[in-house]
């Protein structure tokens, strides 16, 4: 929700601090601030209103009230302070099919208006929060919504007739197949005709049974305000949050109005919306309000909730007195009565705070307004965990055994492009199915990594994964933990030596677990139902120690290919491989990725070493010439030490 600093100031008054301070106050006591920017010469603060406060804080007045509460000061001007006194009209009637769907409907008749551009102050405010000014009537409806959070909608009263001296509004569900022509959306010229399925709530012109708007979502073309409109009817109502939400989502029209209804603002709010818009339209469009219809069929009041001092302090970890708690809750505009024993108080939220329903809601108010920074940490006591989780115990044991055999661990995607268990609604085609095994991914991992063995300093690729795989029973998706391990010793796919290493690793695991395991082996990859193994293993009594790792920073992998060069040389017996490597590395510069010793033997007082040097650039593909130049330096370094390059 974007709010304009100067607009907030109209409500809070001179006590409102600068935007920087407002940002801090909201961040630590109410809502996170997404950003602050200058628009149209105004300071605009983007407030990330929390979902439980979307009912009252999707408005400048709501944010202003929040700031006044934090600052412990009354609002200078509060559009919700006094219940509006509105004259009734007998020129409008409404018939509501389902009270639950529309518990309150108000409509005001304003005659003799002139549609024109809005005054500068109004255009500026709307532009500052990213809204395009349209004309004074539409702008006024938007202004009221952003000011106090009540969506309001204007109809041209001359576009549908009175019957028996009354405009006949009907609020009813759509019939399946019924269509409504909606006003063009922002930035589009064309109206949108939507077909309805019967779950949507409509505002209908009773004289002709024609839909004039999709309740709470979007106005219709039929009675829309236009440049020549003279007499208008303004609707301010309360629509059921779920019905509004479903309609808006299904038709893809999630706009500021529907978003507000979805979050169930107070049922008291519509008349405040009327008071605001009538005054504004009379001011900027001329005309006069002939009266307001207020059909309030089902009233709700916020509950009176008992808040105990003991629970408040015990949840927050504070030692507040009942007076402190009472004072903080009062600051929010709640009415508070402290019980004679001073152990509890009864609190009731002001009408717009439909979120304050249980004791914990009020305790949250106390905590955030008093300040979470004042909470003292309770240092946890050291006690051994009572039970050892078998899955964690055995998976770690297996991991460390496999690491010791040269296997590295991978974690791969749980999704497949093709498979047996398809998801209902995956956004991405490569995530349409869930995996039924780990082997499929592991084969790909082996293929992919084999071309990197030089870069990794490895002779072969050995990997394993422990992860969840899915299957289907008649009535449910079932899952189990799986273990797969795989080996690739040659670049051109599976060969017999792969199988030998896999079998040896499987045997070692069987020894480790003292069990004969049901492996499924295929082309150098073996997989096992690990859940089954763990279920039948003895219950562990203590976790193995977690080996500590030295601190490291990850280096992003270059996307460019690496080039490898081998060098073999004779040195005098006794010269260590390390010493030779150091000399060879010295002139290579920062394009060298790594050096690995891959062969070594001693004969007749001389030792032969063979090293593989791997080169790679972070920003380009290296050329053979570049690497040849570096290798020339390496050869020179070797010769300078009187080593014989073979």
């Amino acid at each position: 929700m974007k709010v304009v600093h100067s607009w907030l100031k109209e409500y809070v008054g001179e006590k409102l601090p600068d935007a920087r301070t407002v940002e801090d106050l909201l961040n630590f006591h109410a809502f996170e601030i997404e950003g602050v920017e200058q628009v149209e010469g105004e300071t605009v603060i983007d407030v990330d209103v929390l979902p439980n406060r979307s009912s009252d804080c999707f408005s400048h007045r709501g944010i202003a009230r929040e700031l006044a509460t934090i600052l412990d000061t009354p609002l200078d001007k509060d559009p919700l302070a006094d219940s509006p006194q509105l004259d009734a009209t007998d020129e409008i009637s409404v018939s509501i099919e389902d009270v639950a769907a529309c518990p309150r409907f108000t409509a005001s008749l304003i005659t003799g208006i002139q549609v024109k551009e809005s005054p500068d102050w109004l255009q500026k405010k709307l532009k500052a929060i990213g809204q395009r000014p349209i004309n004074n009537i539409v702008d006024a409806t938007n202004y009221v919504m952003y000011a106090i959070g009540q969506p309001v909608h204007a109809y041209d009263a001359d576009l549908f007739p009175k019957v028996d001296g009354k405009w006949q509004f009907v609020v009813r569900y759509a019939t399946a197949g019924e269509t409504v022509s909606l006003l063009a959306e922002g930035g589009k010229d064309e109206d949108r005709v939507v077909e309805l399925n019967g779950t949507e709530l409509l505002i209908v012109d009773g004289s002709s049974n024609t839909p004039i708007s999709l309740a709470g979502v979007k106005g219709g073309r039929y009675a829309g305000v236009h440049a020549e409109s003279k007499n208008i009817i303004i609707e301010a109502a309360h629509f059921h949050p779920t019905i509004t939400r479903k309609t808006a989502r299904r038709l893809g029209i999630v706009i500021d109005a529907s978003k507000r209804f979805e979050n169930e603002p107070s049922r008291e709010l519509p008349v405040y919306g009327q008071a605001e818009i009538i005054a504004l339209i009379e001011d900027i469009a001329g005309g006069r309000c002939a009266g307001v219809l207020d059909e309030y069929l089902e009233k709700t009041t916020n509950p009176k909730v008992e808040v105990t001092l003991q629970k408040t302090n015990s949840l927050l970890g504070l030692q507040l007195s009942i007076d402190e708690v009472a004072h903080i809750i009062k600051r929010t505009g709640c009415s508070v009565e402290v019980a004679p024993d001073a152990g509890t108080l009864t609190a009731q939220g002001p009408f717009e705070r439909t979120d304050l329903n249980i004791e914990e809601d009020f305790i949250e108010e106390v905590g955030r307004l008093y300040g979470f920074d004042k909470i003292t940490s309770v240092v946890p006591t050291v006690t051994k965990s009572a039970t050892i989780n078998a899955k964690q115990y055995y998976t770690e044991k297996i991991r460390h055994c496999l690491l010791g055999l040269g296997f590295s661990e991978v974690v791969t995607t749980s999704f497949h492009k093709k498979g047996k268990i398809q998801l209902q609604n995956s956004l991405a085609s490569d995530k349409s199915y869930v995996r039924a095994n780990l082997s499929k991914n592991l084969h790909q991992v082996l293929d992919m990594n084999f071309s990197h063995t030089d870069m990794l300093g490895l002779r072969d690729v050995r990997v394993f994964e422990i992860g969840t795989v899915f299957s289907k029973s008649d009535t449910a998706i079932t899952e189990h933990l799986s273990l797969a391990l795989g080996v690739r010793t040659k670049g051109n796919g599976f060969t017999a030596p792969d199988e030998r290493i896999v079998v040896a690793a499987c045997d070692t695991l069987e020894e480790l677990l003292s069990a004969s395991l049901a492996w499924e082996k295929e082309k150098g990859v073996a997989e096992l139902n690990l859940s089954h193994v763990i279920e039948h293993a003895p219950a562990p009594t203590e976790y193995d120690a977690v080996p500590s790792k030295s601190p490291m920073r990850y280096q992003a992998v270059s996307q460019y290919p690496a080039i490898s060069r081998d060098i073999a040389l004779w040195v005098s017996e006794g010269v260590s491989a390390k010493a030779v490597e150091k000399v060879l590395n010295a002139p290579t510069g920062d394009l060298r990725l790594r050096t690995d010793l891959f062969d070594e033997f001693t004969k007749e007082g001389k030792t032969s070493y063979a090293f593989r040097l791997v080169f790679q650039a972070a920003d380009r593909t290296l050329t053979d010439e570049e690497v040849a130049k570096i290798m020339e330096n390496v050869y020179q370094a070797a010769r300078a030490n009187a080593w014989e390059v073979r």
């Binding site: 914990e360 949250e364 920074d373 940490s377 991991r399 010791g404 749980s414 995530k431 422990i466 920073r553």
Partner: protein
């Protein structure tokens, strides 16, 4: 030539470290299914149907023809809370690490699958002070150094009050040292969760928290693209 030791994946290593740190203060390792019933993933953690709070998470659904009860790939580890609460009586002290799923576009900071861990402590007199102390203990152990933790107001349907937790590394050469970083959502267990599990919410209270393990890896190791965790590329894994 001797075969060098393999490398453990940073995610499972971090889970082992997290478990080790929490086991020392009596937290047990708990689990739940990745294919989770809608009931547990949402309703039982106080996220009712058709409620705007469900918008916070984009969900993968299994096909209705495959399941008797609506089933999702769990969007968070919080359903483990509901499962543990209904099977145990306080005191309850658990962590629940595991893979979770979001049906959304991926980029360097978002994966459709990632790891989270949940913490839950329910007993008589558990307060936000316990939460703060526990988190300070955890982060200082996990990052092996001095840290600070601060709370801001937050909203998560399964807690009330709800808290956003920021953390600052006070030492070290990490790019993130000295800066406040939003690390997790937390709060006091919503009484609806306790009541639904048959636990007296007048007598018992609890804290809960949940955070991304991938995100911990980003902070601890400087991984810049969270998708790297899931590529199976040993040029990534073997650096750890």
């Amino acid at each position: 030539m001797q075969i060098p030791d393999g490398h453990q994946h940073p995610l499972t290593h971090m889970i082992a470290e997290i478990n080790d740190i929490f086991a020392k203060i009596g937290f047990e390792f708990a689990e739940g299914p990745e294919a989770e019933l809608e009931q547990y993933n949402f309703d039982r953690v106080n996220v009712p149907k058709e409620h705007p709070s469900r918008d916070m998470q984009d969900t993968f659904w299994f096909k209705a023809k495959d399941v008797a009860e609506p089933t999702v790939l769990r969007t968070h580890t919080s359903p483990v809370q509901a499962r543990v609460l209904e099977q145990n009586q306080p005191p309850i002290k658990i962590i629940a690490p595991g893979k979770v799923f979001r049906n959304e576009a991926t980029d360097a900071t978002h994966e459709a699958q990632f790891y989270q861990f949940e913490g839950l402590y329910v007993d008589e007199g558990v307060s936000l002070g316990h939460l703060k102390g526990t988190l300070e203990y955890f982060f200082s152990e996990f990052f092996s150094g001095k840290i600070e933790v601060r709370f801001r107001p937050g909203f998560f349907p399964f807690v009330e009050p709800g808290i956003e937790v920021d953390m600052k590394l006070l030492e070290g050469d990490s790019k993130l040292a000295g800066k406040w970083i939003e690390v997790m959502g937390a709060g006091m267990v919503h009484p609806n969760l306790l009541t639904a599990a048959g636990i007296d919410s007048k007598k018992y209270s609890g804290f809960a928290f949940g955070m991304g393990i991938d995100r911990l890896g980003v902070m601890k190791y400087g991984v810049e693209d969270v998708r790297d965790f899931y590529t199976g590329d040993l040029r990534f894994v073997n650096q750890f």
